[in-house]
Subunit: 162 residues, 2 copies
């Protein structure tokens, strides 16, 4: 990331905050906060920025309505979720920002009858998040998350995990 | 997609061609053509557009060198690969384009000794591809591909596959 001038660094900081806010909204199960972080109609002037979203193992969801419905469903089926973000890389080009990160996820389904909490499950997921700068701040244009299916030691080898 | 004016439609057409060329280069095992389709240093002026790439089930690869090495490795281990693209959706916002598509993949590993071709495997993968407009045409900034782990009938239900 460039540290040469104030502007790119400041943008990068704002994108970082938007990216963090996105995961925090998920952790709180706060659909309203999450919805406010996704691009809405007219947020980006006349640009063609239909939101798209891929949850781990899912097909592509297209359009704000479909994307937000999927989050409502996920939140309804998630009692507990926590994201430990690592490897956060942010690139800003004009009004577009591209963030990649590793989501180390710990989550639990709603409790079954007679139990306090469903079993906690750990998941290793990587995400590419694309943001757009709007008058209301940086907003998500695209989120693509996918499971890392096997550990690879990137320093030693680029071999595929499968 | 907007069909109101010539420019967006034309951009969309050029992005579609670049996206198709990306998969055709993979099909031919043409690393040189593939390399030319990824952003290089200086391709995008002073913008901070480090390429990033996620292959299905892989962690994030960052930087042109790491990305291209991964393709060299994949090509070396792939005797045959064909992509049938469906659900191609293209959104263009200024010099950035976001493409989502379903990659219906048929591939075969190199032949084992005494056999003509490794077994053919079908895979259902979804991709989010981000392109940037450069003097040399639209180039890949980010490719994120992930396996669809179960069929979902999106018209009937948004339930997660797992």
């Amino acid at each position: 990331m460039s540290e040469d001038s104030g502007a790119p660094s400041e943008d990068s900081e704002l994108v970082d905050r938007a990216n963090t806010a996105f995961y925090e909204a998920m952790e709180r199960g706060d659909l309203e906060a999450l919805s406010a972080l996704w691009l809405g109609e007219g947020d980006d002037g006349a640009e063609d920025v239909t939101p798209s979203c891929v949850h781990p193992g899912w097909p592509v969801l297209t359009g704000r309505g479909e994307v937000l419905r999927s989050y409502a469903l996920i939140m309804a089926n998630t009692e507990y979720i926590q994201f430990f973000l690592t490897d956060v890389a942010i690139a800003v080009a004009g009004p577009t920002a591209l963030v990649t990160c590793t989501e180390n996820i710990l989550s639990g389904a709603p409790a079954e009858e007679g139990s306090d909490l469903g079993p906690l499950v750990g998941q290793l997921v990587v995400a590419t998040n694309v943001f757009r700068r709007t008058d209301g701040g940086w907003k998500l244009w695209s989120h693509h998350a996918s499971p890392v299916l096997a550990e690879t030691d990137q320093d030693e080898s680029d071999e595929p995990p499968a």
